[in-house]
Amino acid sequence: MSKIIDVEGLTKVFPPSTKAVDGVSFSVDEGEIFGFLGPNGAGKTTTMRVLSTLTSITEGTATVAGHDVGREPGPVRESIGVVPQEVTLDNELKGIENLMLSARLQHVPKKEALEQAGELLRLVELDGAADKRVRTYSGGMKRRLQLTTALIHRPKVLFLDEPTSGLDIQTRTKVWEYLKQLNRDGLTIFMTTHYLEEADQLSNRVAIMDHGVIKVSGIPSELKDRLHGDVLTLEFVDGAGDLTTLLKRIGEVAEVTRTGEVYRLKLPKVETAMPGILSAVTASGLKIKQMSLTKPTMDQVFLEVTGRSMRDAEEPQGNGSGSYGAVYAEVKTR
């Protein structure tokens, strides 16, 4: 697999001295979905703006599709599609007009654009609404249309900034499906998100960013495995006595805590520990009343690497977070 995005020691300082991104290095392979995870103000959007040629680099290098984003912005722009956090469609134009405007600015020949538009609108299930003005669309419809405007020229890389923030869970799941479909067709996707579940569900690889630095990156399941955080909860039939010592003796059990007849066993990996536990329990003639299993979540991964849970890390809009939504709302009310 070749690297389609390659970032080395990327630093971005906004004058006078706000370091939004601090020496970040990572690469994305062709055909991957790469999730950039972190709270607001972590530097995710700034990194994405650098990669989409909107923000200049203070130090380091970044290439997209083989072109340096600072020196060759033209070829970079030709190979990318960008879906910003805020919807940037024209409300007074129809869905199809927004899409065709995007095609024209991407230099897609009209005939080809119309075919591609039909295909994309079917994918995001907007083919029935294409001739309606965007002002009549729901928030979810706008997001879906916005996605198509970034794909009309068949880009190599799609940049998504918080693709589903503010969407209801149903629409969110739909958007995930579209993205998975597009990825299966060969599209590389780079997305920022502060939804842990989104990064987990969608990405082949994730990087967790906080305060301008990548804290950890890797395959989501591996990151979670690294926590050794599987928890098996066993409830025994009454009158079994204290089983703590017995359970602790089983090979892979790291920790046992007891509440009445309920025992919480911390295991490195439940899949390999389970057979040993079951045979030990059966050998002692004990009867299990109930059992349940908790796998670690991305939130625990986040907690582990940043020392805070994702929710606590959410702070007021940081520097260079790039969202103009609030400002716009203010202006419109005047």
Partner: protein, 278 residues
């Protein structure tokens, strides 16, 4: 470049045709100027009641470049003023495009940055020309309205349209550049107010050059609204121009063109600077 500019400008023109509020507002403004200002401040009345003027039309005509009534004199000026004010306020669309992230989105497309500036100019010139033409027609129907010189020809009409087009080019070049550069609606309106009033009051839109004190005269004569007003007045008041008048007309047009080139160059620099990655 041209195709992208047309696409960007076309977006705004389509919007405007669906919701022509901005131009209707401009036409209402023009109507107020012509009907209310044109009649209430009509200097011909003052001349008529003054013992010095002796009620003679000749005295008024002498002061007002040969116009047979005040609204004939005023119409080109009103077109200039309305072009100036509406064009400056139309720029707010571009500021809102920046705030909503639309300009950023355009900046991720493989298009020349200047096509965003030219796109804004195309839409503003189109709107301003539409306003100018309707205002011109409107002026015929207001009380004591516009009276063209006998023998006003197609060529004269084309000259009038050329003058309007150049004036809208001048202002759209200036205000589109400002609109792309500013970061908020507040600073945009502050700048607009700072520029429009001095331009309006140092022009010969409302009164002839003879009314200005000598220290203001050079500014008034060089003012683009004055250039457009004077050029148009020659055509609608004098008709078949003498050689000297033709030169005077050509001088005004050349002046407007020079403003257009200077403001255009300035606007391109401002747009490039405002839209580069930073």
């Amino acid at each position: 470049m041209m195709s992208e500019s047309l696409a960007i400008g076309g977006r705004a023109i389509t919007k405007w045709l669906r919701n022509p509020f901005a131009v209707i507002a401009a036409l209402i403004q023009a109507t107020f100027w012509l009907v209310l200002f044109g009649n209430s401040f009509n200097p011909a009345n003052a001349f008529a009641s003054s013992p010095l003027g002796g009620g003679s039309l000749g005295f008024f005509q002498q002061a007002f470049g040969g116009a047979t009534n005040y609204i004939t004199f005023l119409t080109p000026g009103v077109i200039g003023i309305v072009s100036l004010t509406t064009m400056s306020f139309m720029g707010v669309d571009t500021v809102l495009d920046r705030l909503s992230g639309y300009l950023d989105m355009l900046s991720t497309y493989p298009i020349p940055r200047t096509s965003i500036y030219f796109g804004a100019m195309i839409q503003n010139i189109t709107k301003a020309m539409a306003t100018a033409v309707v205002t011109f027609l409107l002026a015929f129907f207001v009380p004591n309205g516009l009276r063209l010189v006998q023998g006003f020809s197609m060529v004269d009409l084309l000259g009038v349209l050329l003058t309007f087009a150049l004036l809208s080019l001048v202002f759209s070049a200036l205000f589109s550049g400002i609109a792309i550069s500013v970061k908020s609606t507040d600073s945009f309106f502050a700048l607009v107010n700072f520029l429009t009033f001095p331009i309006m009051f140092t022009s010969t839109a409302l009164f002839p050059i003879g009314f200005f004190p000598s220290w203001m005269k050079p500014y008034a004569q060089a003012n683009p609204v004055s250039l457009a007003s004077e050029a148009t007045r020659l055509l609608i008041v004098k008709g078949a121009l003498t050689a000297a008048q033709t030169w005077s007309f050509a001088g005004d047009v050349a002046g407007l063109l020079a403003y257009g080139v200077v403001f255009g160059a300035l606007g391109i620099l401002m747009a490039r600077n405002a839209l580069r990655a930073r």
